[in-house]
Structures are given as C-alpha cells and as structure tokens.
C-alpha cells in the first residue's frame, strides 16, 4: 500500500485508491449548491424544485445558503396542521376534535374558551389564544404568511429570516428567527413583544427592528412605532407613543424632552430609530443624546447621521450591542466580496 499517496496525494498513485476517489468523488460536497454568488438575491435565486435542497441554492446570503434551503424545501403544499389545545377551535366552519388542516385562504378561529396551535410548515409554530381570528394567506416555499385579524398569536420560528410573516391591519411582522407574541385589538392596532431573536415590523417602507426583550406598537395608518425595551420607564414609553402616533407639535416637543431626559444606554434602541423618523431639528438633539449613551464608531459623523447616511446609521447600530444585527443585514445585502 502506498501510504504517501493515501496521506497527501504525493508519491506513486495507488490504483485502487485512485479508483475509489473517482467513484466516490461524485458524492463530494457541491459548493455550487450551498455557497453564494454575491449580488444575487434570495428570491431571484429560486429554482424549480429538483430535489430537497435546490430551492434557494444560490441565494445571496449565508443565511439562505446554510439554513434556508433546508427549511423551505420541506414545506408541503397540503396546508398547515392545526392542533386543538383547549376548547373548540375551528378551521373554517368545522370544529377541531384533535387536529385539522388549514388551507390557503382558510381561517382558524378561537372563541373565548379555545386555544389552538398552527404548525407553520416545518419552520415553526404559532399558538393562538382565545378570541383570535387568523387566516393563512400564503404557504409558499419562501413565504409563509398569516393574517392576524384580531386576538393574540405566539410564534416560535426556527427558520432563517424572512420566511415567516404575519400581517396585521396596521403593519407586517417579519420574522428574523425568533419567538414573539403579537396582539391585535378591535381597532386593528397591534402590539409586538419579542421573547427571543429578532422581529422586523414593516409598513409601507417604515421599519422597526425589535430585539428580544423589546416591544413595538403599530397604529393605522402610521405603521410601526418606535421599539422600546420592556423595562423602559412608563413615562418614556408614553412619550414614545405620543411621538409615534400624535400630531400635536407641543405634545411631540414635550415628549421628545422626556425621551431625551429619561433614555438609558439600553434605550439607544429607541433613539436610534428616532434618528430616521424625526425632523432635522430634532435629529440633531437625538444624535447628541445617543452619542452620549453610545458613542458613534470612528467615521460616523454628526453630519452624516443628520442627513440620513444609511451606512453610518448601520455602523452606529452595530455599536449598540444588540447582538446579531449582521444576520439581518447580511440577509438584505449582497454577499461579501471574495
């Protein structure tokens, strides 16, 4: 036996090893299927199904390459299973004895004594509290989408970002790999509370990024408000609500004073969001306060921030210490060079 060839391919090739290499090489890891082509977007990279792993094969991010294809490729087209947890939840007009099947366009409805669990394909689950109406909007490979008309939903998602969405009357919740609770009241206003991971709240181009431990409200027609941590002072929370959803200039001005005065380093989350939502005059004051709480990284200038320089805002976001923001950003951006 020629051990040198077996060891590092040097020396005289061993015919049997060569034959085995040739035979077994067909099972080798295929980087084309799993690595990334910079610049391609995930959705542009959709391919016709030809196996269990080809759906997002050249997606733009590692997220997709590493995780997404696995999860999305397992989504079936038979609707989602609904499991009765308590009482008599209904799928459409039929009460569920133990389990039911929710098709696209169908509703799950719980009365005041019922609870249910929706199995979101293979990427997660959503528990439905009493008094809730939920509709399955889409069950595509890359778009698992519910509409929460009213009530409360607790979602736990183990998919990569942007595969699971919950529409509400005032905003869309975009899962970024997380556990969260979402409630919609009779007026269609929503409150999102994130337990782990990340959630984005979006409405007509306005986005809020909500990490674990934070909440975010939405109102029609404004969309998502400013996220805040659950241990923020009540006065700061109230001030943010007025800034987000009220128009009275005096009220807004006094609210901003409260926010700037009461903000702790943790509330940099809220201040950062306000930077891109307030008028030019207010932005300067918000910048100055945020800079005290979390100094901007080198190269992030006041002028740049005030004119809304996206890159600078992102870099400052990175400095907030809010964990896996790169996960989200990488998802949205082309792959890195090289």
């Amino acid at each position: 036996m020629n051990d040198d060839y077996l060891w590092d391919g040097s020396g005289k090739p061993d015919p049997e090893i060569r034959r085995l290499e040739s035979l077994l090489g067909r099972f080798r890891h295929d980087p084309v299927r799993t690595s990334l082509d910079a610049g391609q977007t995930a959705r542009a990279a959709r391919r016709p199904a030809g196996g269990r792993w080809v759906l997002l094969a050249t997606a733009a991010t590692l997220v997709i390459a590493v995780v997404g294809a696995y999860l999305v490729s397992r989504v079936g087209d038979q609707g989602w299973e609904v499991v009765r947890l308590e009482g008599a939840p209904r799928v459409g007009s039929a009460a569920i004895a133990r389990t039911g099947r929710l098709s696209v366009g169908g509703w799950v409805v719980t009365d005041e004594g019922s609870r249910a669990e929706i199995r979101i394909g293979t990427i997660g689950e959503a528990r439905i509290d009493p008094g809730t109406r939920v509709r399955l909007v889409r069950a595509d490979l890359t778009d698992h989408r519910l509409l929460l008309e009213r009530g409360t939903l607790h979602a736990r998602i183990w998919a990569p970002p942007r595969l699971f969405f919950v529409e509400t009357p005032s905003a869309t919740v975009v899962d970024l790999g997380c556990t969260y609770t979402l409630s919609v009241d009779a007026a269609g206003e929503s409150l999102l509370s994130v337990t782990s991971g990340w959630v984005a709240f979006e409405f007509e181009g306005r986005e809020s990024f909500v990490p674990a431990g934070a909440l975010c409200a939405t109102r029609k027609p404004r969309g998502p408000g400013t996220p805040y941590f659950e241990d923020a002072t009540p006065s700061l929370r109230d001030a943010l609500r007025r800034l987000d959803f009220e128009d009275d200039p005096d009220s807004r001005a006094s609210s901003l004073e409260v926010v700037l005065r009461e903000a702790r380093p943790e509330d940099a989350l809220s201040l950062w969001h306000l930077l891109s939502r307030m008028g030019a005059a207010e932005r300067g004051r918000i910048h100055d306060r945020l800079a005290v709480l979390v100094p901007p990284p080198v190269g992030v200038t006041r002028d740049g921030v005030l004119r809304g320089d996206r890159e600078m805002l992102d870099r400052w976001w990175d400095a907030l210490g809010l964990g896996v923001s790169s996960w989200w950003r990488l998802w949205k951006s082309p792959g890195p060079p090289g």
Binding site: M1, D3, L6, W7, D8, G9, E16, I17, L20, E21, L23, L24, G25, R26, F27, R28, H29, P31, R33, T34, S35, L36, R52, W53, T61, L62, V63, A65, V66, V67, G68, A69, Y70, L71, S73, R74, P160, D318, G323, V324, S325, S326, W327, R329, L330, G335, P336
Partner: protein, 177 residues
C-alpha cells in the same frame, strides 16, 4: 474518533473571534473552509439524501452557539462534534425508511459501484469511516483532515492506513461474493 488537542490553522482564531462578534462575513468564510468536513462527517453515517439538509442544521447550530466557544483554535473540533451529534440525533429520531434502496441504481453501473463503495466505507468503525470519507469522497489530504477536525496528524494517518486496509478487505470480500 476522539478529539485530540486542536490545531491552530493560520488566521482561524481571528476569524472565529470576528464571527463571534457578529461578523457574518467571517462566519461565511468559516463555512467555506469547513463545508467539506461537515459534509464528509455526515455522509459517513447518514443517508445521502439527508446530508445536505443536516449540514444546514449543523451550521445553523454553530452560528447560534458560536458565543459559547471559548477557544477559537478548537473551532474545527467543536464543529465536528456538532456534526457528529447531529448525525447521532438523526439516527435516534428518524424512522427507518427504504431510501437506501432508492439510491441503488441498476447493477453493474458506475453509480451502483459507487454506492457499493460508499456502503463499504460506511460499514467501517466510525474513526475509519469518517477519515476515509473525508479523504476519498471529499478529496481532503491527511494534513487537511487533521487541521480541520482537530485530530493529530498521527491519528489521521493511522486511521487512514487501518481504514484503507479494512476497506480493501471488505471490497475484496464483496467482489468474491
């Protein structure tokens, strides 16, 4: 296969630290560097049709728990352990299926020969089948295998030598039967 003291591939610690601090591009480079190893370790013990899927599980788990890795130089061995654990979980939780039969093409074809060779490799003891899969399937050299998996070069060399010896005997036996 045991995890001996890890090697320290050039730049690896910095890459791991960057990934730990949230640099997803760094994690992507780690992925590129270790994809073959993870693929090979999984292929050594789970059905071929499951390998790519499980591979994604492994890297997702690694990404999520990277913060718990204290020694960046142990990344390869740590990742290898995740891959082996995932393969173990697969066998623990999966229902036996007929998938292997679907993999077997018509007799005498090259594909059939390849499947037979793969089955023979998989029938070896874990330390041998993993090392040989990385060498014969993934095309890694012995030094690369040592560097990636955290095994010592001596261990890899011994595994390759003994594993190949066993594999030859098995293939010879199959050829006779």
């Amino acid at each position: 296969m045991t995890d001996d003291p890890p090697q320290d591939p050039p730049g690896e610690i910095a890459l791991v630290e960057a990934a730990q601090s949230g640099d997803a591009h760094a994690f992507r480079r780690l992925y590129d560097r270790y994809a073959r190893m993870v693929h090979g370790l999984l292929l050594a013990s789970v059905p071929r049709a499951e390998v790519d899927d499980l591979m994604q599980d492994v890297f997702l788990q690694a990404y999520r728990s990277l913060g718990s890795l204290r020694d960046g130089s142990a990344f390869g061995a740590w990742l290898a352990r995740i891959a082996r654990n995932r393969a173990h979980d697969y066998h623990r939780t999966s229902v036996p299926t007929e998938e292997l039969k679907e993999d077997v093409p018509a007799p005498l074809s090259q594909e059939a020969e390849a499947m037979a060779a793969l089955r023979a490799v998989r029938s070896l003891p874990p330390a041998y089948r993993e090392t040989l899969t990385l060498r014969l399937v993934e095309g890694m050299t012995g030094p690369e295998i040592a560097e990636r998996t955290g095994l010592t070069p001596d261990s890899v060399r011994v595994n390759l030598h003994r594993g190949m010896k066993l594999l030859r005997e098995k293939l010879k036996g199959e050829g006779r039967s």
